[in-house]
Amino acid sequence: MSPIYLEAAVVVLGVFLLALEMFVVQGEKKILAWLGIAGLGIVLAASFFVDQTAPTGAVPSYHAFYSTDSLAMFFKRFALVTTIIVLVMSVDYLGVVRKFTPGATAHGGLGEFLALPVLTCAGLMWMASAVDFVMIFVSLELVTISFYVLVSYTRRNAASLEAGVKYLILGALSTGFFVYGITWVFGLTGQTNLEQVSAVFAAYQGSTAPLLFAFVLLVIALGFKIAAVPFQIWVPDVYQGAPTPVAAFLSVGSKAAGFVVFIRVLRTFFHATAIAHKIDLLLVAVAACTLVYGNLAALPQNNLKRLLAYSSIAHAGYLLIAVASSADPASGGAIAFYLAAYLPMTLLSFLVMIVVANYSAGDDIADFNGLSKRSPFLAFAMLIAMVSLAGLPFTAGFFGKFLVFTVAIAQHQTLLVILGIITVACGFYYYLRVVKAMYFEPDTTPSGQPGGQIPVGLLTRVTIAVLIAAILVLGIYPKPALGLLGSAAPQEAAGVLRSVSPQVVLR
């Protein structure tokens, strides 16, 4: 079975959920989420049994724009797992959506909130496989346009609408840059397929100015998607205003897919040896700015969603360190492991935040005061997520950062390593503030009954437990996971980025 059926199955599932919502499910919509979770789970299981070998015939097939390499498969599974957990969050969040969405009936207008993430997931999976600029563009837009709708979904909430408009304008702006960048690549090479573009770039003799122009346009556009400074301006506002599950989806799914495309485009441009050292310089500069800005701006935040937004920028910075050290063969594995660690810890913090915010009606850090006394389980889950995001040993986050720094040191990226270590220290401050609020502040719930247990649904409880286990297992015994990624990511992701000779590496 070819992997293209995975995306087809996801699209069918999404449309099926919409039809079901329209014709069958009149009351409670939670059943749609459960069906979605089950369906995506089946697709995830099926993804381990697909045939990845590309046909070798001379006849051009869909493989000209659809790659089935292990990099693509890794990110397809990543997108599926993310979407499943986002759907679990959405079930808990439905109450808030209902309050802020006008509908004819009590449950009207909720079905799309559960079906759209499934369709977005198909877009993310196509992005993971796209190796042609047309395909990259269309799948990227499928994801972005779905997110416009999702971000502004709770339209009676002024903050959500405002976030939607901001995301719309800046997202469309990045689309404009992306398309114009593609135009110049096409003008230079006459090709849209990444492999053929690479071949033309490798033999390129002309002026470097148009090449750099095209590259910068593409970096601006992809920088928006992965939230790299200075293209991060939308991130804090959109995360704070958007429905919380959507913010989580943006910060994990959209960012990871952005990184795959970024890696593939970068790999293409590294074939143009004339500009390779300029690309290196640009990457180092962007990574340094992202690290410093994300971590420093997170320090004074009092709203947890906003804090996680800046944290997501900061993590993009650590990932960019690995991208900037891409001459090292281990960098692809480091990126993959970092993202695999980033997924459970970020989603766990958003999930706990949704449950707590449902109860205390707020997502400021102050709403977490004394959580350990009210609800030890949730407080423990948040503790694990925060120490992992900060990068303390025995958590997944620690090994992610460890691998990234190892790669960077091997590539003599002294500046980035020093900045990285200083900013990790900043990170301790703002992540551990949340822990302090939960464990050392008196219980002062603004609205609720103090001492009252926060009710947690069974599905949520199981998901939280699985995510905690994933963080701890990846942190204490990462070897099997590394081995798994070793077979999955490196050959493709690792040799990743370049096939240029080592002397062009920035030293």
Partner: protein, 106 residues
């Protein structure tokens, strides 16, 4: 004789006008029109590249023209969603000026 450079110049000009509009104008609808202008700048240069960089068989390179169709389609989808969001915003706040959307700030 109109050359490739002329087309590229006009396309660059359109892109610059669009970008300046997005940065400088305060009305969301005008910003949105400027965004469309940027996409059309790309379309114009794609068609020009396709027309002037002939393939060995002396036919235009149709890859670019296919891409143009995709861009037009995606832009239409974007406008449909975008205008819906702007209408919802207008219903909620009775304004389409960016200066009035300032609830979320640092």
């Amino acid at each position: 004789m109109v050359t490739l450079n002329d087309y590229l110049f006009v396309s660059g000009l359109l892109f610059a006008i669009g970008f300046a509009g997005v940065m400088l104008r305060r009305n969301i609808l005008i910003i949105f029109m400027c965004l469309e202008l940027m996409l059309n700048a790309a379309n114009l240069s794609l068609v020009a590249f396709s027309r002037f960089n002939l393939t060995p068989e002396r036919t235009p390179n149709y890859n670019a023209q296919v891409l143009v169709f995709f861009i037009i389609t995606v832009a239409a989808a974007e406008v449909a969603v975008g205008l819906a969001i702007i209408v919802a915003l207008y219903r909620a706040k009775q304004t389409v000026q960016v200066n009035d959307i300032n609830k979320l700030q640092f």
